[in-house]
Symmetry: C2
Subunit: 125 residues, 2 copies
């Protein structure tokens, strides 16, 4: 069994519903990957809980030896380039035996093209 | 030939590079859909040009009779729920003969799950 956990990191919002969308996404991911990832959680850069360090700690408490942080951001701004790496580095320093890696932010994935086209084809809201 | 144009609407950023990511996305979409969409453009809610009304106008000037607006947003906040519909409604009122529809925002698309998993599998940055 893999000891790799996935941590989806979003910006966080003052709107509870927006944060709940991320929690729902993490739940859905967990259900789709029970055979693959040890656990799937989410964390927020600001305005919501858990924080990124707390989210990484939860993964470690789950028993993960590897944590993959996926930035749930569409563009490579300061949050992706500086804030997330800084928070991850602090936690990595605390837990040198755990491998914590940062995946590409989702806006960098070419598959987003088909998501946009899928939305265009879907019935309008 | 379809007379349907696609308008990808993003928030807009003070960072030129973030806005250019959206322009690149629109270019890539255009290249992938030359047989399907009359034109593919992008527009920004704020902080960058063109605005949403100007972007819709560009599609109409291209010759489109239908414009599909795709909100390039991850969560259904005020921008998606109120601001984009308001800007679209104004333009629709100006051009009653043109069909302008708003597609689901991309955060609502279930395919995002596989984008997150693809990012997790990709080599870390």
């Amino acid at each position: 069994m893999s000891r790799t956990s996935l941590l989806v990191v979003a910006h966080g919002s003052r709107r509870t519903a927006s944060n709940d969308e991320i929690r729902q996404l993490a739940d859905n991911l967990r259900q789709h990957t029970v055979d693959h990832y040890h656990s799937v959680r989410c964390a927020f850069l600001e305005l919501a809980e858990p924080s990124i360090p707390d989210g990484i700690q939860q993964c470690i408490d789950d028993g993960a030896t590897t944590v993959i942080v996926v930035p749930y951001f569409l563009s490579a701004g300061r949050h992706v380039a500086e804030d997330i790496p800084r928070e991850v580095a602090t936690k990595q320093h605390e837990h040198p035996a755990i491998s914590i890696t940062i995946a590409p932010y989702i806006g960098a994935m070419p598959e987003l093209l088909s998501v946009v086209l899928g939305a265009a084809r879907a019935n309008p809201d």
